[in-house]
Structures are given as C-alpha cells and as structure tokens.
Amino acid sequence: MNGAWIAVLGSCLPAAQEGEDGVSFERVLRALREKVAPSVVAVEVDRSADPDGETGTGPVASHRDYYNRPKGVTSGTIVEADGFILTTYFNVSGTLREIAVVLPDGTRHEAALVGFDRSRDIALLKIEAGNLPVLPRASSYRQGDFVALVGRSPDAELATLNQGILSAVSRHNGTAVQMDAELNYGNVGGALVNLRGELIGVASHIRPREAWGQSSGVGFATKVSEVEKVLPRLKKGEKIEKDPQPWIGIQGGEGDPQYEGVQIGQVVPNSPAAKAGLREGDVLHRVGGVKVADVEELRAEILKHKIGDKIVLSVLRKVDGEAERKEEKIEVTLEANPN
C-alpha cells in the first residue's frame, strides 16, 4: 500500500532534470519573491524638492525633470515587527508634508520620520502596526553572490523583483555593497536578498547628484550590519548629518609620467587650493613633508588633518622655457568639503 502511494507521489515530483537550470532558477526566484515580499512595503512621500539640496537640479540643468525623483511610490523594508520601516534618506528629504506606508495587505498607514543617517542614506519610519514580518539576515556574502532586489513600485500591491549579482562588497566607506540588479527611484529602499531570501541590505544611494543615475547596473545597498549599528540612535530620533571632511579642492589630472605625484587637472574655484594659489598643471608631491604618489594617497594624507589646519604642500611647477620644473612650497588652510 505504502509503496503504491510513494510511487504515485514520485511521479508527481517536478523532476529537475539535466539542462533545466533555467527552470530551477525561475522557481528559486518565485519562491524568493514569495518569502521576501511580505517584508517590503510601499512608501508614499508628499514633499517639495529642495533646489539646493539632494532633491534639486543635477549636473545637467536642462534635464531637471530627469534628475528630480519622479512622483510615485517608492519602497521600504520592515526592520522591526512593531512598525519600524527603513527607507532611504533621499526618499524622504526635502520639505516633507506627509509620509504614508502601504502594507502588502493593502492597508495605508500614516508614517512618522523618526531619524536618519545621511552618509548611509537610510531613514527610519514608524507606523502604528504590529506583528510585521521581518526578514532573517544573511550571515555572510561575497562578490559574485546571486542576489535579488524586491521593491514595491509603482503598484503598492505588486512586489517587483530585479535580479543580479553582488558586484563588490565594500563601497561608500564600507557601509554598502554594490550590485548590478537594476536600481531606480522606485525600488530604492527595497530589500536586497540572497538566494535563500536572507537580507543583505537595503537598496540605497540613488539620487540626482550621482553620476551612475538609475538602472545603469551600478546600484548599492546599505549593509544590514550598518543598519543595526545606527538603529538604536535612529530610534531615539537622531538625525545624523554627514561628518564634514577636510578638503583642499583639486581634481587629479592625467599624470605627467616624469614626476611622481598628483598632477593637478582642475582647481575648484573658491576652494582652499584656489585661495592658496595652486595651479592647473602643478604636480603636488608632498603634503606636510609626506610623499604622495597619487590622488588616493593625497586624500588619505589630508584626512589625517582637521578642518582649519594649515598644511604646507610641495608642488613642482612648470616654468616657461625651462625643461626642469621648479619646487614651490604653498601653505593651504583646510576647509570643510561642501560635497
């Protein structure tokens, strides 16, 4: 008797045969979406764009509309069962009038902005609801992991799924991972999960001023470990602005192969470098006596100082008509990086 039943059940098994990888993948993604979607919500934000801030014009003034976040729902991820929802800082920046969260069951809840962390691009919302499903977190991840990004835009009742891989594990000062699943203004704030549906991070860092735009294959997610790090502070209502960094205001150029140092390609107007007299074409090779071979070493050296410090930069400057460059020592006062 038992044997007959087992035989019948055996024949009903959807057999994963050789060459059916595509079908397996489809089934895994479908199962993933079902597991993850209940923890991803739609976030409706009624706000005015801030012309000088994150929401304002991007680098191309004639395409203002493209760079402003379009109207419509964006996404959020449930981080605690008693109504705490994480979305991105950019989604809720500007002059806010109302934030509402639409849960997967269709109910609409007014949400309060509790706290945010600008450099991690996350914002914490609170709604009056409980027993919300929270995703388990991924214990580990690495470059090359297959990942899925679940969002809820433009239809709050339909979870979307974009699929890709983890492109890198340490971006934005180590607070975010990078992935190539397409990220846009709608699904940012959604959940980035691995094949088992475990949370790796909350999709973030899509905003007008960034060069990578939307859906370019370059997207990010703030790591769960980073979220957990600041969650207690956010719950208390902390609004963590970016820590200002010391800055001189130059952009590296092509690099004169003859000289080791940073070839100055551009001096930012009104920057400390401009005020001190640094020029395009100068080769900056020492910061306060320490040799710097490229832009990264220059940046690392500058970050060892504080805003307001006076430091002496050694540059090799081209003199008209002479083959050799002349060494100049220029004093610069560090200011706060406005970017």
Binding site: W5, L9, C12, L13, P14, A16, D21, V23, S24, F25, R27, V28, A31, V60, H63, Y66, R142, Q143, G144, D145, F146, G164, I165, L166, S167, A168, V169, S170, R171, G174, Q178, D180, L195, R196, A211, W212, G213, S215, S216, G217, V218, E254, G255, P257, E260, A293, D294, V295, E296, R299, D320, G321, A323, E324
Partner: protein, 455 residues
C-alpha cells in the same frame, strides 16, 4: 499523507536551490581566478595576460607608446607599467610592467567560439568606485550579439553585462575565466547621462591575438587593408545587380601588381569569405579585414564564373595586407623631406618631441632617439611641428641641417641629412569612380544565377 506531500514539495524546492547554488559556486570559483588579474589604470581598467606583466587596455585609457602609468592590481599592489604597442583605430594599448614577475594573469580565449546567450562577466571600475579600496566591480550578463561593426569597433562582441565609464579597457570573461574581449564602448542615452543602457561593446580577443606580436614589438600597429582592390556590394543597382545582397562583395576594380592581383583575383570575382568568416556585405568585409594587422596575410574564399562550363568555381587565395614599413615611412614625411622620425604633438612652447624613430631612416642614422626634443634647426628656434615645417621649407634635398636637441636635460648638436620623400608611395587605394567600372565580365553572368544558389 498531507505531510508526505508537503515534504515532497519542499524537496522539489531544495533541489532547485541546490542547483542554483551550484551555479553560484561556479561563479565564485571563476571570480577567484579571474578578478586578481584585473588592473586599475588611471581612469579606466586593464587586464594582465602574462605572468611577467603584459597588460591589455583600451587606447583611449592608456594612450600611445611612451606613456608610463602607476597601475594597481585588484587588492592594491602597485606597479609601474609602460605602454609598448598601441592601435588607436582598434582602441587597444599593450603595456608592460617593469621587472614583472609572478603576477596574477588571465589567458585570452577564443572569441569566435562564443555563442549568443553565453554567460559572461565584466570586471571594471565604473565611476571610480573601486579607488581606495582597490576592489573592482563585477557585472554579469550574456553575450547579446557578435561581430558588431559600430563606429570604429569593427568586430565587437556585444554584451548586456553592465559596462559604464570606468570599465573601459577592462576584461570580458567567459565562465572558464578566459578573456574574450576588452570592454570599451557603450550605447548611452545621448544628451542625458553617460550610463549603461544594456548595450556594451568589447573588442574581441581573436583580433587582439592577431595584433599581439606587433604590439610587443612596439609602436603604433596599423590596420590591414587590401591594397589596389575596389569592392562593390552585391545587390547594388550601380553594379547592374550582380547577385543578391548577402552573397558577398565583388571585385569591381583591381590594380596591376597589387596584392589582390598577385594573389590571383580578377574583376568580377565574388568574395564570399574572409578570414574564415562569411562576408555578406562590404561592412562585414571591412570589419573582418580590420581585425588583421598590416603585414599579415588573410585567407579569402572567392567564386568565379566559368563561361565555358557555365558554372561557378570556388577557390581560396591568401592576400597580403600592406607593408607596415612603407606606411611608416610615409608617416615620417614632412613636406618634401623624409625625416625618419615622427613628431609628438604635445610639447607646446618647448620644442618638437620625437615620438618614434624609423629603423634605417635619416633620423636613426643621425643618432636621434625617442624622447629627444628638437629646439633649434640651423639656429632657428623651433617650438612646434609647424615651426619645424617652416624651418625646413626653404631647404634642399640632400643638404644637412644642424639640430639642437634636448636629451635628459643636456643640449646636443646633431646633424641630420634631409632625404627626399618618395612621392610615388601611395598608402591608400584610389577612390572608387562608378563611371570607371568595367562592363565586360558582368554581362556574362546570368542575371538570375544568384537567386538559384542557396545562401
């Protein structure tokens, strides 16, 4: 009973997950082998293809021979690398790490063996996101199309693995960890922003492999072209409908003693394959030839109409693709003189830097070297190639001029003999003139013959 069914249902899912995790594991393994060979170069990317440090990149990233770069391998290891050979048209530069030893590398693969839909991944540094941590970006996709002729990329692999500014010069890998392309161009949303739209182009590895020994020898590597043949495209009305579009290209004109004539081609021959690839139109033909450097020979399969037997015969020829030294000599002519050196154009106000010295030329005989900066000719100050031209304008062939050059900070006086430039060296075939198209062989081709043939 219900428990059994549920258990069976879960088994099915676990099986699926295991298979996909297996695919993921394969990707992890190939990344572990491939990513270490990646190299950060300036604002773009490169890949190391040998243990002693030959690095491939795009020409628009690494530049001409003589450029030196501080490069970093994935993970941050710093090396100094010099550009040795380059091809601006094919957009490839080859660099060599100084004292390179024991470096991580990846092997070039066979780009002609790629299939559409095959999984590939790109390693790069879009938007300089990897700077500082020296962790490159990996994007994963498939081969979307092959043999794309887009602007000046003649035989590109098209992929949807996302490629963005900063990926240029970086490798496109197969799942076996072989480099099948160097990523270099993308289609963008014009006038909006420069980001990937799902279409990326990579220069195929087989093209690079053909050029490789010339790159290693150094200097600019010229593209091959078939001298002395004028081509017509089948199906074009101007050529009285010789065949249907897609059959091939045909020889509309041929110069005596040209490589094509010496190889055995004649007017009216239909060229159906070049380099083993079907060339169904002129674009594809030029695309194939462009993947061969000057100095190589390319196999061409052609068809000829036999009027007695009233049938096509098919045959193969090998055509020599232009002599690099002839073209280089033409490069070094300045006005009526052949100086034997090529001036660089980026030392304004100081002098004329010597970018390349031709072997056996006048400059080589005089002892001039790459990097020398010519600052005076016969006492006259020379600050640019234009000044150089003017200074030579009134000189006579066979005379000697005194050059003052700067070398390693020293000023040297070097006499240079002015050789006359040979004017009968033509470096390009004459432009096609439809009125000169010979009529004779075309009348003998039965007009509907091609339509009976199988494609």
């Amino acid at each position: 009973m219900i428990a059994m069914v549920m258990f069976v249902g879960m088994l099915a899912q676990e099986g699926d997950l295991e298979r996909v995790l297996g695919e993921q594991r394969k990707l992890h393994e190939v990344l572990d082998r491939a990513v270490p060979a990646y190299v950060f170069i300036g604002g773009g990317s490169g890949v190391c293809i040998s243990e002693d440090g030959w690095i491939l990149s795009n020409h628009h990233v690494a530049g001409d021979a003589g450029r030196t770069w501080q490069v970093r391998f994935a993970g941050g290891r710093k090396c100094t690398a010099d550009v040795v050979g380059f091809d601006p048209l094919g957009d490839i530069s080859l660099l060599r790490v100084r004292d390179g030893k024991g470096l991580p590398f990846a092997e070039p693969g066979d780009s002609d063996a790629l299939r559409i839909g095959e999984r590939v991944f790109a390693v790069g540094n879009p938007f300089a996101l990897g700077n500082g941590s020296w962790e490159p970006t990996v994007t994963f996709g498939v081969v979307s199309a092959l043999h794309r002729y887009q602007d000046w990329y003649m035989d590109a692999v098209q992929t949807d693995a996302q490629i963005n500014p900063g990926n240029s010069g970086g490798p496109l890998f197969t799942m076996e960890g072989k480099v099948v392309g160097i990523n270099g161009r993308i289609e963008i949303r014009r006038f909006v922003n420069r980001v990937n739209t799902g279409i990326g182009y990579a220069i195929p590895s087989n093209q690079i492999l053909r050029y490789l020994k010339y790159f290693k020898a150094g200097g600019r590597v010229m593209h091959g072209y078939i001298e002395g043949i004028t081509l017509g495209e089948c199906g074009d009305d101007r050529y009285e409908n010789t065949g249907a579009y897609g059959d091939g290209v045909f020889v509309a004109g041929i110069e005596e003693n040209s490589p094509g004539a010496k190889a055995g081609l004649d007017i009216g021959d239909l060229l159906v394959e070049a380099g083993g690839q079907r060339c169904f139109n002129a674009n594809r033909f030029h695309g194939i030839v462009g993947t061969y450097p000057q100095g190589e020979t390319i196999p061409v399969r052609a068809r000829r109409w036999n009027k007695e037997k009233k049938e096509w015969s098919e045959f193969e020829v090998s055509i020599f693709l232009g002599d690099p030294s002839k073209v280089r000599a033409a490069d070094t002519a300045m006005g009526k003189f052949e100086l034997g050196f090529v001036p660089a154009f980026d030392y304004p106000d100081l002098g004329v830097e010597i970018d390349r010295v031709v072997e056996g030329g006048a400059a080589a005989a005089a002892g001039l070297r790459v990097g020398d900066i010519v600052v005076q000719i016969d006492g006259r100050r020379v600050k640019s190639p234009l000044d150089l031209k003017e200074a030579l304008a009134l000189k006579k062939a066979g005379s000697t001029v005194q050059l003052r050059v700067l070398r390693d900070g020293e000023a040297l006086e070097i006499p240079l003999e002015l050789k006359e430039a040979k004017t009968e060296e033509k470096s390009l075939p004459p432009p096609f003139d439809p009125k000169k198209l010979p009529r004779k062989p075309l009348e003998e081709v039965p007009p509907d013959r091609h339509r009976e043939e199988e494609r």
